[in-house]
C-alpha cells in the first residue's frame, strides 16, 4: 500500500549541491502516498547521494532544524507534504535563503542566533529560584501578546522569507525581534527598557518595512509583523519619555 513502486510514479527533484558556488542537480525519486519533502531528501541521501548534507532532528515540526527553500519558498520540510508543493511532479530544494551555505542543504545558522542574542533575546530575572513564582494572569493583555509570539521554534523560515534581511546585513530579522517583543511584554523581566534599547539600534525594529513575508511563511502561525509593529510603538513611546 505504501509502496507504489510497481507503477513507479516519479518525482523530478532538483537539489542544491555544494556551498555558495554550488549548483542544482536533478534526481528522480519515487513518489509515495505519505511523503514529506524531508523524506524526499532522505531518499536521495540513502539511495543516490550518500554524501548529501541536510539537517533535521525531531521530524515533527518542533526543533526547527529542517527548513529549506522548496520551489522557492522557505518551509519546514518535515511537515511539508509533497502533494502540497510538487508542481507537476517537480521539486526544487535549496538551502534556506539569507544564511551562509555550509554544504548542500545545510546552512550556517549562527548569524540568525547571534542576532537573536543581539536583540537581547533572553530573560533578565527579577526573582531567584528560592522565591515564589510571580502570579501572572493569563488574561493580562501584555501576557496574551507575549504568549502569542512565544512558541517560536527558531526555524529561520521568516528570516529566509524577509527581503530586508537580504538587503541589510545588520537587520536583526523577524524572529529575533519577535522574541524581543515577548520580552518587552513580560512583566517578570528586570530590564524591559534594555530590550527596547537593543531593538532601537541600527538594524533594529525600525528597519522593518512591514513586508509581511514573515507572517506569510511562519509555519507555526506566529505574526512577527504585528510584534515588530508593537516594538515600533513601544520604542517611540520610550523615546518620547526620554528612556531610550
Amino acid at each position: 500500500m505504501q509502496d507504489t513502486a510497481e507503477t513507479e510514479e516519479m518525482l523530478e527533484v532538483e537539489i542544491w549541491r555544494g556551498a555558495e558556488d554550488g549548483a542544482l542537480r536533478t534526481y528522480r525519486v519515487p513518489r509515495r502516498e505519505s511523503q514529506t519533502v524531508l523524506d524526499v531528501v532522505t531518499w536521495v541521501q540513502r539511495n543516490a547521494e550518500p554524501a548529501l548534507a541536510y539537517r533535521f532532528a525531531c521530524r515533527v515540526g518542533m526543533c526547527g532544524s529542517c527548513a529549506m527553500q522548496v520551489n522557492g519558498k522557505p518551509r519546514w520540510t518535515c511537515r511539508t507534504h509533497v502533494a502540497k508543493v510538487a508542481e507537476g511532479g517537480k521539486l526544487r530544494i535549496e538551502p534556506l535563503a539569507n544564511l551562509p551555505k555550509i554544504k548542500d542543504l545545510a546552512t550556517d545558522m549562527a548569524p540568525f542566533f547571534e542576532k537573536w542574542a543581539e536583540a537581547r533575546g533572553r530573560h533578565e530575572p527579577t526573582r531567584t529560584r528560592h522565591e515564589p513564582m510571580a502570579p501572572v494572569s493569563p488574561e493580562n493583555p501584555a501576557r496574551a501578546a507575549a504568549n502569542a509570539g512565544i512558541e517560536c521554534i527558531n526555524c529561520a523560515v521568516c528570516y529566509a522569507a524577509c527581503d530586508v534581511v537580504g538587503w541589510d546585513g545588520s537587520y536583526l530579522g523577524p524572529a529575533a525581534l519577535n522574541r524581543a517583543w515577548t520580552l518587552a511584554n513580560d512583566e517578570r523581566d528586570a530590564d524591559r527598557c534594555g530590550v527596547l534599547r537593543a531593538v532601537s539600534q541600527s538594524g533594529g525594529c525600525h528597519t522593518c518595512h512591514s513586508h509581511g513575508s514573515c507572517v506569510e511563511h511562519c509555519p507555526v502561525g506566529i505574526n512577527p509583523t504585528a510584534g515588530i509593529a508593537g516594538l515600533k510603538r513601544m520604542t517611540l513611546a520610550a523615546l518620547m519619555r526620554g528612556e531610550l
Binding site: 530586508v164 538587503w167 541589510d168 532601537s200 520604542t235
Partner: protein, 109 residues
C-alpha cells in the same frame, strides 16, 4: 537612537502628509472638474496666507519624509552606507526644502 528618531520623523511626517496630499489632490480634482485653468487656480492661491501655510507645511513634511525614505532605499538597494550617505540625504532634504519653499513663494506670494 538615530534610527528610532528617523523612524519617528518619517512616520510623523507621513501622518501629516496624508491629509495634506488628500486636500491637494482634492483641489486638483475640483479644479479639473470645475474646468479651472492653471491661471484661475493661481489667481486663488496668490496672496492667500492659508495656501502659503498649507503648501509650506507640505514642503516641510516632504523635505523630512522623502530623504529618510531615500536613505533607507539606498542603504538596502546599494552598498552606500555611513556618513557620506547621511550627508547626501541631508543635502537632499535641504535641496527639497529650498526648491519647495521657492515654489510656494512663487505660487502664493
Amino acid at each position: 537612537m538615530l534610527e528610532a528618531r528617523l523612524y519617528l520623523l518619517q512616520r510623523a511626517s507621513a501622518m501629516l502628509l496624508a491629509p495634506l496630499v488628500l486636500l491637494h489632490l482634492g483641489l486638483i480634482l475640483y479644479a479639473i472638474e470645475g474646468g479651472l485653468s492653471a491661471g484661475e487656480i493661481l489667481g486663488r492661491t496668490k496672496g492667500s496666507l492659508f495656501w502659503a501655510g498649507f503648501y509650506g507645511l507640505f514642503v516641510l513634511a516632504a523635505a523630512l519624509h522623502a530623504p529618510i525614505g531615500l536613505r533607507n532605499i539606498l542603504r538596502e538597494w546599494t552598498h552606500w552606507r555611513g556618513r557620506s550617505l547621511d550627508l547626501a540625504t541631508g543635502g537632499f532634504a535641504l535641496l527639497l526644502l529650498a526648491l519647495g519653499l521657492r515654489a510656494v513663494w512663487a505660487v502664493t506670494a
